[in-house]
Symmetry: C2
Amino acid sequence: MSDLLERLRGRGWRMTAQRRVIAQILDGDHVHLTADEVHTRAARLLPEISRATVYNTLGELVGLGELAEVTVDGRAKRYDPNARRPHHHLVCARCGTIRDVHPTGDPLTRLPPDLRFGFRVTTADIVYRGLCPDCADDTRA
Amino acid sequence: MSDLLERLRGRGWRMTAQRRVIAQILDGDHVHLTADEVHTRAARLLPEISRATVYNTLGELVGLGELAEVTVDGRAKRYDPNARRPHHHLVCARCGTIRDVHPTGDPLTRLPPDLRFGFRVTTADIVYRGLCPDCADDTRA
DNA sequence: TTGCTTGCAAAGCATTTGCAAGAGC
DNA sequence: GCTCTTGCAAATGCTTTGCAAGCAA
């Protein structure tokens, strides 16, 4: 189940209740949570956990390549547990929900060399924007 | 020269020294500035201008569709004066430089309906990441 | 004159950090 | 026991807001 915990242990991570809970939350969910949402869920299992610990831990996981940060429109960063497999994002313009989309081809090929301005391009991130089913139903302007 | 000012006047904007200066800065530059950079430049021409006014004005211009906000990696938002023509961005992973790239086709067509999860998708933004020529020359790890 | 705009300062979020107390190995 | 980790609270960075004075039309 928790491959993530195994990998972290293998990397010499000191295992604490806080880290176990955070890893568990990320591992079990395919939604992209904000740090605050992770904290809220973690606090349900471990009431004393502090926000700082959540931030620190998420930051470390990003550093280790286990998580990717996704920032959209200057809102709070969201953490993407699916960092090891390349993919793109579908974002709801209203509520901010993010879903993963697995690309059907290599997006890099979309940028012809003559448009690269001398850049050594290594990745391409695509953000598709629109309204999620829930927000689209909501007909308020 | 300043088409932007003309358009704003046409939309009934009350013309003030602050707005004139801000519009002028955006119109004259192809770089994507942060709000703070806009404020710094504006203050050179109009020392009393306040940060709040810069933020408010930039926000209004975004609302009017004259500017686009570009947020990368949770840093400060940058304002893109080229909002009227759809395009994507080439970002240097090291120094943060952003260049515009004009797409050669409609990126929306890349996302087949069965991968849309019920979203009503309206736009697709692509961020190509890599090293700009200057940073790529720099061989330091 | 009328009411949109500005500037100030304070408030608001999201996130980071310093440091002493606490827990893993 | 030594060191890494945690929690608290304060600090930071970016941005927004309330409100009275100012200025364009």
